[in-house]
């Protein structure tokens, strides 16, 4: 994959994660005990042999930059190529309208990169992919553009669907809340020649358009030979609270755990150097995902504990997601809750959410 560059486009990603994205962009939403959403696509790229990756940042990207750093956790701290974080291009005080402007604004980066092909992706697709299969498919079909899709019924997230004809050619893409039926969820992962991407961007902008998929792709769908490539691994489209909760809880299925985190490659993330988790003698933990640095003295069931969470004696945590450094004091009763980073629940409190509407505590809240 030396000849392929990767782009993770976070501009205007559909975001209904409510409190979880008050202070961060969707790409840096914590997921799966120790990761951020962007880790899955980024690691897949690296595991596929891509060594030139650009992240188009858009809003609230401080935590994203902190997370990515120099890219060393992904082996992208390279002399040549490596990781590029490209901030929004604002001319004057006008806010950026669509991703076409961002792509165009950084076209110098695209021109300067020597790769012939480009893999254009989004950050909120939780998956583990070998993109070499996609490239091989692309070469085999001779398509102009190949787009990854997953056959799934996922009503909880915002996703676009594609329609293909019998030869696998994409005849239509409906963005977001279309009436179009079908179960082919677009993973918004496009593979094409870099020259085609630049051509599409410049043409669409010249015609006064703003959005890459809606304008540059869809308006040319009759002229372009776009093929759909079916992805068969685990996919979580995470951009609503419901889908966040659902796909988090799906990780408690050992088959999903083994597939998403190990096959075909490992998922990398920023490390915290926490010690292993300590289960004390009173701890009762079952059906849970637990990251390092936790100290568990209470009961934890059907839950996900991020790094450095403390569950004190007598506390009961059920069906909940506790982000980094959460502090659950004595005799707390917590059910169907999502606690953001550094939340403290004081002794004796009872907090109950519902499966369909989990209780959410914002970062650093003390309850």
């Amino acid at each position: 994959m030396k000849n392929v560059m990767g782009i993770i486009n976070t501009v205007n990603e559909p975001d209904h994660l409510e409190e979880l994205t008050y202070h961060r962009c969707i790409a840096s939403v914590p997921f799966g005990g120790r990761y951020r959403l962007i880790d899955f696509i980024l690691s897949s790229m690296v595991n596929s042999g891509i060594t030139n990756v650009a992240v188009f940042a858009h809003t609230k990207y401080r935590s994203l930059m902190d997370h990515l750093g120099s890219g060393k956790e992904w082996d992208l701290d390279r002399k040549r190529s490596g990781l590029f974080i490209l901030p929004p291009v604002n001319e004057g005080l006008e806010p950026v309208k669509g991703d076409l402007h961002a792509l165009y604004g950084h076209r110098d980066y695209l021109y300067r990169s020597s790769e012939e092909f480009v893999l254009l992706t989004r950050s909120h697709m939780v998956c583990n992919i070998d993109f070499r299969d996609l490239r091989n498919y692309h070469e085999m079909t001779g398509a102009d553009i190949s787009v990854l899709y997953k056959e799934t019924d996922d009503p909880d997230s915002i996703s676009s669907r594609i329609v293909t004809n019998t030869k696998g050619r994409v005849t239509s893409i409906r963005e977001q809340s279309g009436l179009l039926q079908g179960n082919k969820v677009s993973m918004e992962i496009f593979f094409m020649k870099k020259s085609l991407l630049l051509d599409l961007i410049e043409t669409a902008l010249a015609e006064g358009h703003d959005h890459f998929v809606r304008d540059a792709i869809l308006k040319n769908i009759d002229h372009l030979n776009i093929h759909g490539y079916r992805y068969q691994g685990y996919l979580g489209v995470v951009n609503t609270l419901q889908s966040y909760y659902k796909h988090s809880m799906n990780l408690l299925n050992p088959n999903v755990w083994k597939e998403l985190f190990f096959q075909p490659g490992l998922i990398y993330t920023k490390i915290k150097d926490e010690p292993p988790t300590r289960y004390k003698s009173e701890s009762r933990t079952s059906n849970s995902l637990v990251a390092n640095g936790c100290i568990i003295e209470g009961t934890v069931e059907n839950s996900i504990l991020f790094r450095g969470v403390r569950v004190h004696p007598g506390a009961v945590v059920k069906n909940s997601i506790i982000l980094q450094n959460g502090m659950i004091r004595e005799n707390v009763n917590l059910e169907h809750a999502i606690l953001d980073k550094d939340v403290v629940i004081n002794a004796g409190r009872t907090l109950m959410g519902h499966e369909l509407a989990p209780f959410i505590a914002v970062k650093k809240k003390v309850i």
Binding site: G32, P254, W257, F261, F262, I267, T277, R278, S286
Partner: protein, 383 residues
Amino acid sequence: MKQKECIAMLLAGGEGRRLGMLTRKIAKPAVYFGGKYRIIDFTLSNCTNSGIDTVGVLTQYHPQVLNRYIGIGKPWDLDRKEGGISILPPFIKQRGGDWYRGTADAIYQNMDFIEEYNPEYILVISGDHIYKMDYELMLRFHKDKKADASIAVIGVKWEETSRFGIMSVDEHNRITEFVEKPKRATSNLASMGVYIYTWKTLKKYLNMDAENVKSSHDFGKDIIPAMLDDGIRLYAYPFEGYWKDVGTIESLWEANMDLLDDENKLKLSDRKWRIYSLNSNQPAQYVAPSANITNSIVNEGCIVFGDVDHSVLFYGVQVGSGSVIKDSVIMPNTKIGNNVTIYKAIVGEGSVIGDGSVVGSSESGEITLIGSYESITFGIPAR
């Protein structure tokens, strides 16, 4: 090269013969410890946390795993432009060359390396101890005392004094006597194998020692006694806290079990003094509905269906359903099948314990040791 006030020389060439199968193909400092670490992580992390950014690691016995593990020192923040980590194996010189014949000889042979940094002080440590220590405080002590050499000491139980190098001191902590493994000790202050020398002085003694054909070229046996004979300023730096030499199977097992004691003074989770290690890139551990984990430490990448009590699980360990693990240390990527019983054992990395196996017993006090990449069925090594 920029001058450095103090650089560290880390002795990591030991074979660790008493660790048996665990050091068959790796040097002792590379042996796993505490669910995610290798022993050397403690001294390397102590260096970086103490502000020492130049570390020479002296290797000799089976250095392959250690070399790959250390790399350019990234996990310990020792990948520096100036200084950083340097792996120093024995090498051939214009007139011959030799293996490191002792701890002092290892330093002597690398004098050129040390001189490059022109240090005032040199910290000599070894990669086979578990402890957290701020070497900067010890350096301050060394300067305050205007010492030629300072040796960190810890009070040990009187009945254990015969296992250590024992120091007698006067009321100012000046060392008056040093005896290696005394039969009848007059003090219980044991050397921790942590030395700070004023480089000028040490250089002189190393040169003298190198020419002494009778010398075993060892710090404890030769250099320190020679310095004491000459009456130069040797001080004992009293250390309080957790320190353990993990040179035997028993002490390695004990040190792991110590981590499960709430009163343990090592405090692995103290964020002000983190112990760094190479990241294994594993996902959060999965604890199944059938699992029961108590009084244990478990690392990322584990998947547990059975019972784990009073044990230490390294990354990537699988424990099948119906299995019981008690008082044991299970090293990375070991696969334990269903209905397995493991009592008081150390299981080496990558081993496979077949369904229904029984390892160790609850009655015998002995520690059962299973090497790395072994395959066990019904408790009998399948060879």
